[in-house]
Each structure stands twice: as C-alpha cells, then as structure tokens.
C-alpha cells in the first residue's frame, strides 16, 4: 500500500513522538472521527481504535479474506488498506449487516445452510458475498466461486457457503424484489 500517500489534507499533530492524522469516516452508518497513526491498517483501526472486533485477522497479508469489509461499496481486505485511505469513506463491517434488530437474509441463510463452523472466516465471507450481491444481484455459480475463492475457510469445505449465497439470491429476489 502507498505509505507515502499525501496526508496534507489531514490535520497533523504530534502525540508522544508519533505523527498522527485526524481521520473521519462513516462506519456502519455512524460518523467516526479519530486521530490515527498514518501507518495503521484499516483492520487495526476498526479493531483496536473503534473496538469493532467482528472483523478478523488471519494472515495480515491480504491472502485470506478474513478481514474483508465493504468500503464505498467494494469488498476490501482491510489488513492491507491504510486507515488513512478510508478518509471520508462509507464502511460496512459484519456488525452493520443486521438492520433494525433483524438479521439480514444473507446471515439467516448462513445459519440455516450451516455455512460456518468455527466462525472465524465468517465475517469475511459475509462481507465478500454482500459486496458481490450488491453489485450483481444475480451472479452465476462461477461468478460466486470466482469472488469467494479469495476467502479461505478451513472448516466448511465451502459447499454450504455456496449454498447459502445461492439461497440468499433466491430469497432476495423474492422478498426484496432485487
């Protein structure tokens, strides 16, 4: 990632010897303003700074998809995105999927198809699948596999995950008229 990103647009100040910048963004519909170390990853910002622990880390190198979140409508692996790159962004994490006290169809189908076991990869899969269905409400099996093959799961063997996404597509068409 671009460590030399021009940070002049952020307010800079010195805090215990470390240069910090002020970052403002929207996470799950809430406005968040925080001072951050410019080298901090978005993943660590979400977990350590705003204490949203639903987003998981499993490699820290952009290889497993466990840390996937949605930034401005796109799925990104937050471990290799700098927090400062999210200035002004709209972020959705797993904590933002359920609305009005009700699980989303995607979450319900993950439960009912048993698309999770240990659950550690689950937030990442949910976010990758959500971003896919938001951009393409009716993807083919091949398209689903192509996108979700960026996420690793060691427990489920993937078949239940694929089934859950396919069931979600059907139900969203029927129930939400997508």
């Amino acid at each position: 990632m671009d460590n030399n990103k021009d940070c002049s647009m952020y307010t800079e100040h010195v805090d215990s010897g470390k240069r910090k910048v002020t970052l403002s963004l929207t996470v799950n519909g809430h406005q968040v303003v925080r001072d951050v170390d410019p080298s901090m990853s978005l993943l660590h910002f979400l977990r350590d700074n705003i204490k949203l622990f639903g987003t998981k880390e499993a490699c820290g190198e952009g290889e497993c998809g466990a840390c996937t979140i949605i930034m401005n409508g796109k799925a990104v692996t937050s471990c290799i995105v700098l927090a400062v790159e999210a200035e002004g962004a709209q972020i959705t994490t797993v904590e933002g999927l359920a609305k009005d006290g009700k699980l989303s169809i995607l979450q319900e189908e993950f439960i009912s198809e048993d698309a999770l076991q240990c659950g550690y990869c689950t937030p990442g899969f949910l976010m990758s699948a959500r971003a896919l269905l938001d951009s393409n409400p009716n993807p083919s099996d091949e398209e689903i596999v192509e996108v979700l093959s960026g996420n690793l799961c060691r427990c489920t063997g993937y078949i239940p995950i694929l089934n859950a996404v396919k069931r979600t597509i059907e139900r969203e068409q029927k129930e939400l008229g997508r």
């Binding site: 622990f53 240990c118 550690y120 996420n151 060691r154 063997g157």
Partner: protein, 803 residues
C-alpha cells in the same frame, strides 16, 4: 449438490437443527481469544532460531531492555521449564541449543506489539550452526541425537517407548500369527513404500494465549485458543510445580483447531512472561508465518508395506513399518505413532500381521495431532497397497476388498472381536461404489482413447476406520441444572471449536428429556473453575463419551423430577412418565406437573416447599479399554470404531497434470445421525481437507531444514475453486449398543482416505501408481513424462522424469 434425504426415527436426535453458536458468529458477536483485551495487558513477540540446529553461544538483550515500553525479556537462561504432553522434551525457551527453526530463543513482553517487535530486532544472538538431522533415515542412524538427554526424559511409561541413545521418541509394536510362514506359503507377496509430507492444520485463528500469573500466589489464569482446557491445566500444573486447582483455563470461541490446538503451546511462555512482568496479563499470538513454522504440524510419514495374498484373493499376511518424522519434539506425535500399531492394517481381517511404528525426532517443525491422526497417513499406504495388490492379482478392487473386510467374529489388529454392533465396513463400501457407478477398472484401450481428448477420467475408492485414540481411562462429565423457567443449563468440559458439539449434545439432552432444544442452555465457552472435567477435545470421542454422559445426566434429572412429582401427585415416582416438558401420570392426565413447576423445588399453595433446585450429573469413563501389550500390541484400545469409505470420480488434464474432483461419495456407519446438517458439514469440510492433503499441501524444507513455504502464498490450502463438483453423503445406521442412542463419532473420519481414493482413481485414469503425496500437477506431469508405472518419489530432483 445432491444430498440424500435423511429421515430420523427420533423427534429431536437426527433432526437438522441450526447450530447453537451460529447467531453469534454471523453477527460478529462471537469473542475469540484473538479479540480479548485485559486491563494492563502486555503483548509478546518471540525471537525464533534461524537455524534448524544450532548452539546458542551468547545472547545480548541489553539494547532491547533499554527500549521504552519493554516490560520483560526472557531467554533460556531465565527458565528451565520443560513441557510435553507424553514426553517432557520441550523447553519453553531454548537453552544451549535450538532444535528446529521455530524454537523460541528469546521473548519480549511490551506495552504494544510494535515495541515488542522492535525489541526483538534489538536482541543480538551469536549462534554456532550445527549439522541438523534431516530425515528419518539419518535419524535412525543415530549419529546425531536431537535430544542428547533422551534417556532421562520424563514420559508416559508403559504406553510410549523411547529408545536409549537414539532419536526414537517411541517405538510401538504389534504382531499376531506367523508372518514368515505366511509370506513363504502365499501365492503373491508385494512390497511397497508410500510417503507423505508434513502438512499444516491451518486454523484460521492462529494460536493465541493470554496468561496472568499472580505474583502473590501460585494462581495462573489462562485464556487460550485451545482444544483441551483440562489437559492444559494438568500439564501446566506438572511443569510449573503447582496444583491443578491453581491453574484456571478459560476457552473463548476457538477459530479452528483440527488437533493443532489439542496440546499445550503458547501458554507456558505467556506464563513466564507474565511472571517476569510482575503479574500483568501477557498476550502471545502467532503470526501466520509462525503458525506455519513455529507451531506444530502433521508429521511426515513413510510406510513400508509388505503384503501376501493367495490367487483366490485372500490376504494372508501384512507387515507394516511406519516411520514418522515428528520433528524436534514428540508432543502428540508419539500417540499418532501408537495408533498405527492397532489401526495400521486398515479394516481388514488378516491373520498374520506385524506393525512397527516409530515416532522419530529430526530437526524439523515438530508434529502433533491432526484430524484423524495417524489414519490419513496409514490409510494412504494401506489403501494404495490394497489397490496395487488387486491389480497384480487381476481381481476387481471392490471384490478384493469385500473378500477381506472385517465382519462379525473377525479380529482387529489388536485382537478385539468385531460384533454386529461394531458397524459394517462392507455396507459402507458397497454404498459408495454403487453411488459412483463403478463397473470395473478402465482397460488400457479405454485410457488411450480418452487420452486423445486431453482429459482422462478415473474412478477410485478407499476404506477407512478410526477409533478414538485415547488413554484407557479417558473420562468426561456433564452437569445439568434446571433454571427457574424450566430450561436446562448444561455444562461440559470439552470445547466446541466448530464441530458442533454443543448443538449435538443439546439434541441428545432434548431427546432424553423430551423438551425443546432451544430450552437447553449451553455455552461453547469453557472455564475450568466451573465446567466439569473432560480429558481432551480430540479423537471424535465427544459424541460417544460426552453423549453417554448427557444421557446419564438426563436420566438422573428425570429421576429427581419424578421423585418430587411423585410426592406432589401422591404416587410412586415409578408410575410417572415424562413428555413435552412435563411429568404426568399415564392413567390420569390431569395429574401432571411441568418441569418449570419443580425446577427450583415445588411450592405448595401455602408457600411451603419441597425439593430444591434440580441438579444432575453424568460421568463416563471409557469402558473396558486396556493399554496395549508392549511387544505384541494386543489389548483393547478402541472404545468405538467408526468405519467408512469414500469413492471418487476425477478428471486428469494430461497436459497440465491438474486433477479435478468431480464427485465424492462418502459413507460412514455412524450408528445414528445426531444432526444431519452438522454431519454434512463435517463431511464437506473433512473431504476438502483431505483433498488438500491429496492434491496441494505439504511442507517444503530446504537442505538446512528451513521451511520454504510458511505463508498462504506458498503453502496453499483449498479454496472454493478446489471444491468437488458434488459430495454425496451416505449415512449407515447400524447402532452401537453402548453409544448414545446408538451413535458413533464421525468428526475426523471424512478426511481419512480421501487421498487414497484419489490416488486409486488416478491409477484408474492413467494406469500409473503414485506412492507419494501430494498429487500436484507438477508431480502428475512428471509422472506421465517418466513413462513409468510406479512413481515412488516426486521431489523435483529425484523424479524419474528429471533424472
């Protein structure tokens, strides 16, 4: 994704309930050790040995100590603590020498991870590199000893057999019949080597532990991503010289284990660091790279199998020599070696047999339990050997297996008698062979014809068996308490790391108590202070042993309820029945009480009470098991066998060498399905892990035994693209007379024999016998190019194609 419709004869057991932990896991509420923060918590980093074997000449930590924010630095000079599950052979911090390139040389606890990381980079160590022990052959020569103190190492006596002045951590043996006579008198004797590399478990949550060691007492508090809280408690107590009750172990949600978290790993180091930092909690977490190169793996293995058979297809003798490359430490590795001596001829009835299984130290990443331990490996050897034997005899491989599989009255390797209630391997094989439409092996002409299209299909199958590998006196327990609302709070000591244990056990409780599963309150989180004892969460033992404990506790709870209800309803408790959360009198339906009415004791209209809060327990110890005889391996090691079979259809691209798995049919004699959704999940997940071992995975070491592929980029595991097109699960239900509602465990089994079935299918497709895993595209192409019919080695530099 076709699935056979399954119908259960029970109201709650066998039904497709959602897993109890699912809601927390899809909403991001599930808290894993990785997520935990404690007040004042410090973060640790480790300095690992850069050499497979080296002398530590000097360590200078002064620069690191001076770094602000550093709260503790430890080296081997600060602690002499030895740990180990069955052999106390591992120093928490290396002292004097390092034994693999993941040995911890120094560790730092600091206020944040970055500071800890910087401090590590400031530690100066002078090493004198030593020649490592590279492989099992070199190890067996014994010129260099990985553990010079092997003769003094404390170990589990009578079960494991370290050999004097050698690199053999344990040599387990079994034999029966007259091997030499059988070899001399049989029509055909075939001898082959098979091998497979070390493979990583790859839990998505890496190992992570937090420990707070109270400086004012012996108390040690542990939070860990671990499978076996009570084993950690016991080993910590042994190693640190405190009482078991001084150690409290908390297990939050665990992000995958597969055996890799079955023993004790980062907990002792975190304990030492916490002590050194004045009792502040210290979190030690493995990076993904450390997960690969510091934490343990599945051992690499070589099996040498010699088998004799008669022309009519009867196997008369089998000799197996298994050499396990356990790396630097024994950990679970010795137990893996031990299972091979009672399960290492597969589910066959063979009168004359002999097995030698050696768990061997080398200077590689050490090994531990991995799903179905010892079995994927031994079955790779056995099931390929059986297939090769059938080729030589010119007998169909299905018929050949059917002639030799165990049936009631036959004896296993260790002499246990198979009965009607042991499960039926033949039924499993027949079911999967039928499912893939097996009609016999391809002829050479058929292969040639298909070859021209660039893609060749093949079918293959393999048997599998496994019994829980556990000490003869393995025990578990369950406590049930009734809440005021009539719900049952159930506590177990085993960990649900995704296998679905809490849901399955709740179903058994709900079935026995005849109440809604939603009203069984159970948590995946374990705290050794309050949860009852369980030996280890391993070995697919929980459904069986834990299930039996749940049945016992349920019956005790029902009995207690009926005693109180009998007083209230003025009848002998024996006259009462239970259904739908109520105790009632069958002849007078008005005489009934709901569980809720007696949950905390019954209250009469005048306010007086009887009974009191309902509480029950169930304790179970494995029944009738014995240690094996050290020389003959005879005894009763298996509480319950689960038999199964896989059949696969594959397609090999003869240009690229890639193998596509089109269909997998998997049958297991589970006795009784507890939850069809969960079991299907175990099958899909296990099959894909097996497919990883078959086609992609394996550690690669350089000549200095440094791991070359400690990352997801180079150590690939299957992704959604590797998923078989179709997995067909088949559940066979011959009840186990002493299992809970007849059930047997099946958590590990789906992984076993997937490589063997694929290897057999590759033979069907190409007419080439591969003896080495993984069957990577490179290996297949080089195998084809070599023009040979047996591929014994697929290391790039020893492949025939490259010679």
């Amino acid at each position: 994704m076709a699935k056979a419709e399954y119908k259960s004869k029970y109201k709650r057991v066998g039904q497709r309930y959602d897993r109890k932990d699912a809601r927390e896991k899809v909403t991001g509420q599930a808290v894993y050790t990785y997520d935990l923060e404690l007040p004042g918590m410090l973060y640790a980093r480790c300095l690992l040995s850069p050499y497979a074997r080296a002398k530590i000449v000097s360590i200078d930590t002064s620069k690191a100590k001076a770094l602000p924010g550093v709260r503790a630095i430890l080296t081997g000079e600060d602690s002499d603590i030895l740990v180990g599950l069955y052999m106390q052979d591992k120093r928490v911090l290396s002292r004097g020498v390092t034994r693999y390139q993941g040995d911890v040389v120094a560790a730092v606890a600091a206020e944040d991870e970055e500071t800890a990381e910087r401090a590590i980079s400031l530690i100066d160590v002078v090493y004198e590199p030593l020649e490592p022990v590279h492989d099992v052959d070199e190890a067996l020569e014994g010129k260099i000893l990985v553990h010079e103190d092997i003769n003094e190492l404390k170990h589990y006596v009578g079960v494991f057999f370290p050999q004097k002045d050698s690199n053999i951590a344990s040599w387990n043996k079994s034999k029966k019949g007259d091997l030499e006579k059988a070899f001399a008198e049989s029509d055909l004797v075939v001898e082959n080597d098979f091998s497979l590399p070390a493979v990583a478990h790859v839990p998505m949550e890496t190992h992570v532990s937090i420990v707070q060691a109270d400086p004012f007492s012996n108390k040690i508090k542990i939070w860990s991503s671990a499978q076996s809280p009570f084993a950690i408690r016991q080993i910590m107590a042994d190693s640190f010289g405190v009482s078991e009750s001084d150690v409290e172990v908390h297990i939050p949600y665990v992000g995958g284990g597969f055996g890799g978290k079955a023993g004790i790993h980062l907990e002792p180091l975190a304990t030492l660091l916490s002590k050194a930092a004045g009792g502040l909690p210290v979190k030690v977490r493995a990076t993904r790279e450390q997960e690969f190169n510091q934490l343990p793996t599945r051992a690499g293995m070589r099996g040498r199998i010699k088998t004799a058979a008669n022309k009519d297809g009867k196997i008369t003798a089998m000799q197996a020599v298994y050499d396990w490359d356990s790396g630097a430490y024994a950990d679970y590795g010795v137990n893996v070696g031990k299972t091979a001596v009672y399960s290492g001829i597969g589910p066959y009835s063979i009168e004359n047999a002999c097995i030698d299984s050696k768990t061997i130290y080398t200077n590689k990443v050490f090994s531990t339990a991995y799903r179905g331990f010892g079995h994927l490996e031994t079955h790779w050897s056995i099931e390929r050997q059986i297939d090769i034997l059938s080729q030589k005899l010119g007998i169909d491989p299905y018929e050949f297996r059917m002639m030799n599989l165990l049936e009631p009255g036959d004896k296993t390797m260790s002499g246990e008698v198979i009965t009607e209630s042991s499960g039926n391997p033949k039924e499993c094989l027949t079911a999967v062979v039928k499912e893939i439409g097996w009609t016999g092996r391809k002829t050479e002409e058929e292969r040639q014809r298909e070859w021209k299209t660039g893609k060749v299909r093949g079918k293959g199958f393999a048997m599998l068996q496994k019994a829980p590998a556990m000490p003869a006196n393995t025990a578990t327990s369950v406590v049930m308490q009734m809440n005021g609302d009539g719900h049952v709070k159930m506590m177990i000591g085993a960990v649900d790391m995704g296998q679905g244990a809490i849901t399955a056990l709740s179903q058994i409780a709900a079935q026995e108590l005849d109440m809604p599963i939603e009203d069984i309150e159970i948590s995946a989180q374990i705290d050794t202070r309050s949860n009852p004892y369980d030996w280890n969460t391993v070995a697919s033992k929980l459904t069986f042993l834990g299930g039996n404990a749940v049945v016992k506790a349920s019956h005790e709870l029902l009995h207690k309820m009926k005693v109180i209800a009998g007083q209230v309803l003025r009848t002998d408790p024996e006259n009462l029945l239970h259904a739908n959360g109520e105790i009632y009198h069958p002849h007078n339906p008005n005489r009934r009480l709901s569980y809720k009415d007696i949950a905390l004791g019954y209250m009469y209209p005048d306010g007086s009470g009887i009974g009191g809060p309902l509480i029950a327990s169930g304790s179970v110890v494995a029944d009738g098991l014995t240690n094996l005889h050290p020389e003959t391996g005879q005894g009763n090691p298996a509480a319950v066998w689960t038999f199964g079979a896989h059949a696969v259809e594959i397609e090999v691209d003869v240009e690229t060498g890639s193998v596509t798995v089109l269909k997998v049919a998997s049958a297991f004699d589970v006795g009784q399905v507890i939850n069809e959704k969960l079991i299907y999940g175990q099958i899909c997940g296990g099959v894909l892990q097996g497919l990883g071992s078959a086609l992609l995975e394996g550690y690669k070491f350089n000549k200095d035994e440094k791991l070359m592929n400690p990352s997801f980029t180079d150590n690939k595991i299957p992704t959604m693209k590797d998923m078989p097109v179709e997995i067909v699960p088949i559940y066979i239900e011959n009840p186990q007379h002493n299992g809970p509602l007849g059930a047997r465990g099946v958590g590990e089994h789906p992984m076993i024999s997937v490589p063997s079935a694929i290897g057999n299918a590759v033979y069907d497709a190409l007419g080439i016998n591969f003896h080495v895993l993984p069957l990577s595209p490179e290996a297949i192409v080089l195998g084809i190019q070599s023009g040979k019919k047996s591929i014994l080695c697929t290391d790039v530099d020893c492949l025939p194609g490259r010679l």
